[in-house]
């Protein structure tokens, strides 16, 4: 009798260990979503920077963006604003992803991290919940940018929006995970601007989000290949341009498709690179959080 009871209890606890960790991932994710949806000010202000780039920087530079053989203001019917649009969308994704991840440092300063760390769930679940929360928010924020597509003459349909959202989610996951790795080593919010200036801004600029990398110096092209964001921006750009039926010459001029060792990577290959980096970063994040002092 008593043995039977003991056995059932032990299976129950085994079952519940997995179940409990799934619940933990869900609640950590849900908390981030809840906080995001409640913070309208943050949603609006985070749109500001990409919009400035799109409309002011974009319009300003459009006039001088006319490579050889193209009509003024664009390459074969592709305006500069259309070109940078996917880049600016990825900017919204990148910045939201990193700042969501860095919110762990806030949680540490305000004590809430401790509430999570003493819970009877694995640190990996907490990191996963956090990574998924940050990626969902970043994807939302990127999707909000799509609202401005008609204003600059980019045509979207439901299928395209879904593809873009999935690609954004993947990029966001990788960047949030990288952000968590950084956050696990940060002691205070003061180093946040250091992260922005020394990690995020270089990654963003090197990715080719704002200019084609067709005629850049060798060192810049090299650094571009090392930048994970490169492999996230190009699929977005190819998706946006896919409706335009661009001739291969123009596509090359626009720098579509990342070239590694002389071959052009397929979109699938690029997404696999982003995904693989995401897995590496999230495992790294789980490891550095799992370490008990």
């Amino acid at each position: 009798m008593s043995t039977v009871v003991a056995e059932t209890t032990s299976t129950n606890t085994h079952m519940s260990a997995l179940w409990r960790n799934l619940m933990a991932i869900e609640i950590v994710w849900y908390r981030d979503i809840l906080r995001y949806l409640r913070d309208w000010v943050r949603i609006i202000t985070s749109l500001m920077q990409p919009l400035l780039f799109l409309f002011i920087f974009g319009s300003g530079l459009a006039s001088s963006f006319s490579p050889a053989g193209a009509r003024p203001g664009g390459v074969a019917g592709v305006s500069f604003q259309t070109f940078i649009f996917p880049g600016v969308v990825s900017m919204a994704v990148l910045f939201t992803a990193i700042s969501s991840a860095i919110s762990i440092v806030w949680d540490r300063e305000f004590g809430f991290l401790r509430e999570m760390l003493v819970a009877p769930v694995s640190r990996t679940s907490i990191v996963l919940g956090k990574a998924l929360g940050g990626s969902t928010i970043a994807m939302f924020q990127g999707t909000l940018m799509l609202v401005f597509a008609p204003l600059i003459g980019v045509r979207l349909d439901v299928g395209l929006v879904i593809i873009l959202m999935l690609e954004m989610l993947l990029l966001a996951f990788t960047m949030t995970s990288l952000g968590i790795v950084i956050a696990s080593r940060m002691q205070s919010m003061e180093s946040f601007s250091v992260v922005m200036q020394f990690v995020l801004m270089p990654m963003f600029f090197l990715s080719g989000a704002l200019f084609p990398l067709t005629h850049v110096p060798g060192w810049l092209a090299f650094l571009n290949k090392l930048d994970p964001v490169t492999y996230g921006v190009d699929p977005l750009r190819q998706a946006v341009m896919s409706g335009m039926k661009l001739p291969p010459v123009v596509a090359r001029q626009l720098g579509l498709g990342v070239q590694v060792f002389g071959t052009t990577l397929s979109v699938l290959a690029e997404l696999l690179i982003v995904g693989a980096l995401g897995v590496i970063f999230v495992s790294w994040a789980a490891l550095s959080f799992g370490k008990q002092d």
């Binding site: 619940m23 933990a24 609640i27 906080r35 305000f110 004590g111 401790r114 003493v118 819970a119």
Partner: protein, 359 residues
């Protein structure tokens, strides 16, 4: 079964003793169950940070239903110990078992059976009271139905039910601490760690919180492990361990600890402390300590000795006070230091400034 029934019974405000005299009575009424195996046993627990040995191999046992006080000056090793006991910090050496689970080998099992109320608030201020509890319930794996029922009971217990959908950032310090206590108990822990639970609260709120703590202990037989800076609160403990320089220097009931002081405490303000000290040593054979502009010494039958002091000490005496020893005196006797409340005050202010700046 009976424990289960008792735990299900929600506490109501009507049950709570509210004056400090009633509180003391309630504390005395709930007799600690020192019988049976300890719920927490610590053996040679040690922790070093580089060259610094913060906790130097301490051993003690805590019994089910006990309120165990853990006192010590700042930097004595209190927080390090509490962090090790709640699995946030790995011990360098030593062993501890909590409710039968080994601290180093089964940290997640230990986490299931402990609750924590931290010294610093650890609520998410951008969530509502109920959402904070929901987070806790989910991360401790409570099924939705159980979670709902307990959240309601706990919020009612700490009188926050009507504020459950308000954001925590709109709460006062006392309300936040009450919410944290509700949260710490939500998963029915067997041991509740309270790290300075009343720090920075006004006296009335402190009294109120204590009435919750004592009533809880009585009704739910939860073991409490407590650190505090307030000596009047330490009086509520069944037993107290005093830690200094990483070692336990005394462990006993508050009454027995007071016996350590050896008589009444006499405080003397004079125009020349050095000379007065010499004369007192000659008269009574005890060496007074120099306090903050006063001399302090302990002696049996203090009241009868006051006339002799006034007569035979040749320097001018501004004031003499005699009183029964308090835990403060015990503390000074054992550690040579006062638990400095003003120091805590500064820390509190600093934290306040930090928070405001970060917002």
């Amino acid at each position: 079964m009976t424990t289960e029934e008792q735990t299900r019974q929600p506490l109501s405000m009507a049950d709570l003793p509210l004056s400090s005299a009633e509180l003391a009575e309630a504390a005395a009424a709930a007799t600690p169950r020192m019988a049976g195996p300890p719920i927490l046993s610590v053996e040679g627990l040690r922790r070093t940070f580089g060259h610094l040995e913060a906790v130097k191999g301490i051993s003690f046992e805590v019994y089910p239903g006990e309120i165990f006080g853990f006192l010590g000056p700042n930097g004595a090793g209190k927080s390090t110990t509490i962090n090790m006991l709640c699995t946030l910090l790995k011990p360098t050496a030593g062993k501890a078992t909590l409710a039968g689970f080994d601290l180093s080998r089964e940290p997640s099992r230990v986490r299931e059976v402990i609750g924590l109320v931290f010294q610093d608030p650890s609520l998410d201020e951008r969530l509502t009271a109920d959402e904070n509890l929901r987070f806790h319930a989910a991360i401790y794996g409570l099924p939705a139905a159980v979670s709902k029922e307990r959240r309601e009971a706990m919020l009612k217990m700490v009188d926050l039910y009507d504020r459950k959908d308000h954001l925590v950032r709109t709460f006062s310090g006392g309300m936040k601490r009450r919410l944290e206590i509700a949260r710490g108990l939500l998963h029915y822990p067997r041991v509740l760690f309270l790290d300075e639970p009343t720090i920075g609260l006004d006296p009335q709120t402190r009294l109120h919180l204590w009435s919750y703590i004592l009533t809880l202990r009585q009704q739910k037989q939860i073991t409490m492990f407590l650190t505090t800076h307030y000596m009047d609160e330490a009086e509520y403990c069944d037993r107290i361990a005093v830690i200094d320089h990483g070692m336990i220097v005394a462990l006993d009931t508050p009454d027995h600890l007071k016996d350590l002081v050896g008589g009444d405490v006499i405080r003397l303000k004079t125009s020349d402390d050095a000379l007065a000290a010499q004369q007192i040593k000659a008269l009574f054979g005890v060496e007074p300590r120099q306090g903050k502009d006063e001399l302090i010494f302990e002696i049996a039958g203090g009241e009868e000795l006051v006339p002799r002091i006034v007569e035979q000490v040749s320097v001018r005496i501004a004031s003499v006070s005699v009183r029964r020893p308090t835990l403060d005196d015990v503390f000074i006797k054992l550690t040579g230091r006062e638990i400095r409340e003003e120091e805590t005050g500064t820390q509190e202010r600093m934290r306040g400034i930090m928070r405001r700046r970060m917002r």
